[in-house]
């Protein structure tokens, strides 16, 4: 048993659980062997993970670092500004990600066939939503600032 642990790096239960998981996943994958689009599915499967880890994550981290750095420069402000920039940006990013097809009008033909509508309104609606998120955040900032000015620093 100690020998197994030294060679493998964990107990036999660990290996059993993993093998069972791989077996089920492999069984699901082999059902696709005769499917002409199997390769396409595999590419998408790997691509979504790679794009998230190596594109999306570095992008939003870099954006966040820029926001923190720039708002750090106004550090003497009575109320830190960073989260009032960050939150509407996150809301905009999240909704862009989830509702992207409509916003960039991708799949217009199937959308029209399925619903009877084109995708024209989505971009405008999304921009309005972003404006509302930014506006509410700015308003809250002003209120907090006014409150701090009235009570805090005297």
């Amino acid at each position: 048993m100690m020998r197994f642990r030294r060679l493998y790096g964990a107990g036999p239960g660990h290996l059993l659980v993993l093998l069972a998981g791989f077996a089920v996943a492999g069984y699901a994958a082999q059902l696709l062997l005769d499917d002409p689009s199997a390769l396409r599915i595999l590419v998408w499967f790997v691509a979504v993970a790679v794009v998230h880890d190596l594109v999306l994550f570095p992008l939003y981290s870099a954006a966040d670092r820029v926001v923190t750095t720039v708002s750090g420069r106004v550090r003497r402000a009575r109320v830190p500004v960073v989260n009032h920039v960050r939150l509407p940006l996150m809301g905009a990013g999240l909704t862009l990600l989830v509702f992207l097809p409509g916003i960039i009008r991708q799949g217009e033909e199937t959308h029209l066939a399925a619903t009877g509508f084109d995708q024209q309104p989505y971009l405008g609606s999304w921009l309005l939503l972003v404006a509302v998120l930014a506006g509410v955040s700015a308003l809250l900032y002003l209120l907090r600032w006014a409150h701090a000015a009235a009570t805090g620093s005297r």
Partner: protein, 427 residues
């Protein structure tokens, strides 16, 4: 670790330092997000499988799934809103959990770049299982999100990929839960949630102990842990608010970024979402003109032809029946309406079939969903009908004029529109 150690480089250093510097990242935060997903994702998986069951034996897509088949039972017809509930929860909860999944991935990302990359055979296998886990959850989210917006850019069968991807996910998820439950439980005990919820930014400190997740040189906190959790919850609330209108009528305008936030203006009574327009289905208006249209009933001693006037005439043989039933689509939207028409079981009697065990409905729609097989229980249910009116008005052409099937707790695609014939079977 003292206060000075955690002090950030002045002015937010962009050049040097480790890549991961968040002071709130750590096993506790990861475990809290993990618990939310541990509860939520199985619900999404199970409701997805129930939706597959609801399509009924012989009509499930994909058909060839070997052993990866949920138990084959006839999806319950009562309560009539059961399918509306399962598909609404599957799509709605799936969308609402997206911010939690993204936050969870953010919280564990340093582990991806841990060094050394492989510590042992066990570590290598576990990392491979994590690729399956992350790949499959993102694959399920991406294909699902694209499907409900009718964007088929991926170019493969949504049904097949989403169904088999779900099994890869369920396998990888189960492995992850078994392997990580002990350390997650330990992490959860390391801090008190109640205390965290009372800890403001000014008293927020990095988690104790090392590990891959806790930053070596954390930056100054800009948000407390409770703040971070509120941000994730707020993201879920935002997505939820933008989605719920797909299925809750008065809130429909809130789904303004989704196809099912919009409904046709009319004609009267027909202001609910259309799935597949008459134009897209290639319906020839002359074929469904009430002057020439006849419903053909087969399966009895001889075919029976009924025109629309006869169907609407009522009488003891074919009384008009009215019921309030949801029309619910597997893509996550639904609408509850009051339908009037003739019961399928009465039509079977008129056709001369006393105890049908199934009915095959065919439509003027030549597409894949222009034919549906209804199991016997669905044919005989007292609210199952061939609907002619909705909310007291004629069905619009896009909603299936001259007649469509409406049955309780049924996937929308099996509520066949533009019905041409019904074949009642007894075997």
């Amino acid at each position: 670790m003292t206060e000075t150690d955690t002090a950030p480089p002045v002015g937010g250093d962009l050049r040097a330092g480790p890549r991961f510097r968040s002071p709130i990242r750590g096993p506790w935060l990861t475990a809290v997000l993990g618990v939310v997903l541990l509860v939520g994702l199985p619900v999404v998986a199970v409701t997805g499988l129930l939706d597959y069951v609801a399509y009924g034996a012989g009509q499930q897509i994909p058909a060839e799934v070997g052993l990866l088949r949920p138990p084959d039972f006839v999806f319950p017809l009562d309560p009539p809103w059961l399918f509306r509930l399962t598909q609404g929860v599957h799509v709605g909860l799936g969308l609402v959990l997206i911010p939690v999944v993204l936050a969870k991935l953010w919280s564990v990302l340093p582990a991806l770049f841990a060094s050394p990359p492989v510590r042992s055979a066990a570590h290598l296998l576990e990392r491979l299982s994590l690729l399956l886990l992350v790949g499959s959850i993102l694959f399920e989210i991406v294909t699902g999100v694209l499907n409900i917006q009718y964007d088929y850019v991926f170019g493969f069968s949504f049904y097949t990929a989403h169904y088999l991807g779900a099994w890869v996910f369920m396998a990888a998820f189960a492995v992850h839960v078994v392997l990580k439950l002990p350390s997650a439980a330990r992490a959860l005990r390391s801090r008190s949630l109640r205390t965290e919820l009372r800890t403001p930014l000014s008293r927020t400190r990095p988690e104790e102990g090392g590990g891959d997740l806790v930053a070596d040189r954390p930056a100054a906190p800009t948000v407390s842990r409770r703040g971070a959790l509120a941000v994730v919850g707020g993201g879920s609330l935002l997505i939820g608010a933008l989605t719920v209108g797909q299925t809750v009528e008065p809130l429909r305008p809130l789904a303004f970024l989704l196809p099912r936030g919009r409904v046709p203006d009319g004609p009267p009574g027909n202001d609910f979402p259309v799935n597949r327009t008459a134009a897209a289905a290639g319906i020839d208006p002359s074929a469904v003109d009430p002057g020439g249209w006849r419903l053909e009933l087969t399966g009895g001693p001889a075919p029976v032809l009924l025109d629309r006037a006869r169907l609407l005439a009522g009488g003891p043989e074919l009384p008009l029946h009215t019921a309030t039933l949801p029309l619910a689509c597997v893509e996550g939207w639904s609408a509850v309406r009051t339908w009037t028409g003739v019961r399928l079981r009465d039509l079977a009697a008129v056709a001369g079939v006393a105890a049908p065990t199934a009915a095959i409905v065919t439509s003027f729609d030549p597409g894949g969903f222009g034919r549906a097989a209804l199991p016997g229980a669905r044919v005989l249910h007292p609210d199952s009908m061939l609907a002619l009116h909705v909310e007291g008005h004629d069905l619009s052409l896009d909603h299936g004029f001259p007649a469509r099937i409406i049955t309780p707790s049924t996937p929308g695609v099996q509520c066949t529109k533009w019905v041409r014939a019904i074949d009642f079977r007894t075997t």
